[in-house]
């Protein structure tokens, strides 16, 4: 079936604005992860969902970041009052088992905050 998809592929916004980034995992995958990757760095963990609930949100940098997965499939990462430092590629991944197995990544959303 189809892989993990993310929309939009690119998002340019102004400082202070609100953005939503969407992730469609592989059908049937119960585990879903969000990561953030800055230029020249490896992906940095943000949050992990098992089903509808956030099993681990310890990577969210502050309360401007929030993510939901209301029906256990599609997830939305929400960033309020964006700052220039939020500019990065946001990656989503899903896996079929309870997170300890291979993760399949989407192409990412490149967020630019002007």
């Amino acid at each position: 079936g189809a892989g993990v998809s993310q929309t939009p592929s690119n998002k340019v916004t102004e400082k202070g604005k609100y953005v939503e980034l969407r992730c469609d995992p592989i059908s049937g995958h119960t585990a879903l992860y969000w990561y953030r990757q800055s230029l020249g760095q490896g992906p940095e963990f943000l949050i992990y969902f098992q089903g509808t609930g956030a099993a681990d949100d310890s990577g969210l940098p502050n309360d401007r970041f929030f993510a939901v997965r209301p029906e256990g499939s599609v997830s939305t990462l929400k960033i309020q009052r964006t700052e220039r430092g939020d500019s990065a590629v946001y990656l989503c991944a899903s896996s079929s088992l309870a997170g300890g197995d291979t993760q399949y990544f989407g192409p990412g959303t490149r967020l630019t905050v002007l």
Binding site: V4, Y33, Y35, Q37, L39, G40, Q41, G42, P43, E44, F45, Y48, Q50, A55, D56, S58, G59, V89, L91, A93, A98, G99, G100, D101, T102, Q103, Y104, F105, G106, P107, G108
Partner: protein
């Protein structure tokens, strides 16, 4: 924060040569995975090695794991120009309450010269 470190940060070799990349991590792991990334976008899973395994092969890839030294290596044999990419190791640790966390290093940028 990222716990893995890849070595070297950049590697340039001639086509046909072997490429070796090393990775270190800090805490106990369930397994360790290697990923490849082109052009700073989606990551592609290459190979997973479990904590009770010492060596694993997949095509031209060979991964070793030394849990006593908390290190792993990825060997790509008979490299091709198409292998040019960034390579990341990622350690999977159980963080409690059914949650697993994937922690990436900063990556090795491999350039294979035709």
């Amino acid at each position: 924060s990222q716990q893995g470190e890849e070595d070297p940060q950049a590697l340039s070799i001639q086509e046909g040569e072997n490429a070796t990349m090393n990775c270190s991590y800090k805490t106990s792991i369930n397994n360790l995975q290697w990923y490849r990334q082109n052009s700073g976008r989606g990551l592609v899973h290459l190979i997973l090695i479990r904590s009770n395994e010492r060596e694993k092969h997949s095509g031209r890839l060979r991964v070793t794991l030394d849990t006593s030294k908390k290190s792993s290596s990825l060997l790509i044999t008979a490299s091709r120009a198409a292998d040019t990419a960034s390579y990341f190791c990622a350690s999977i640790s159980y963080s409690g309450a059914g949650s697993y966390q994937l922690t990436f290093g900063k990556g090795t940028k491999l350039s294979v010269i035709p």
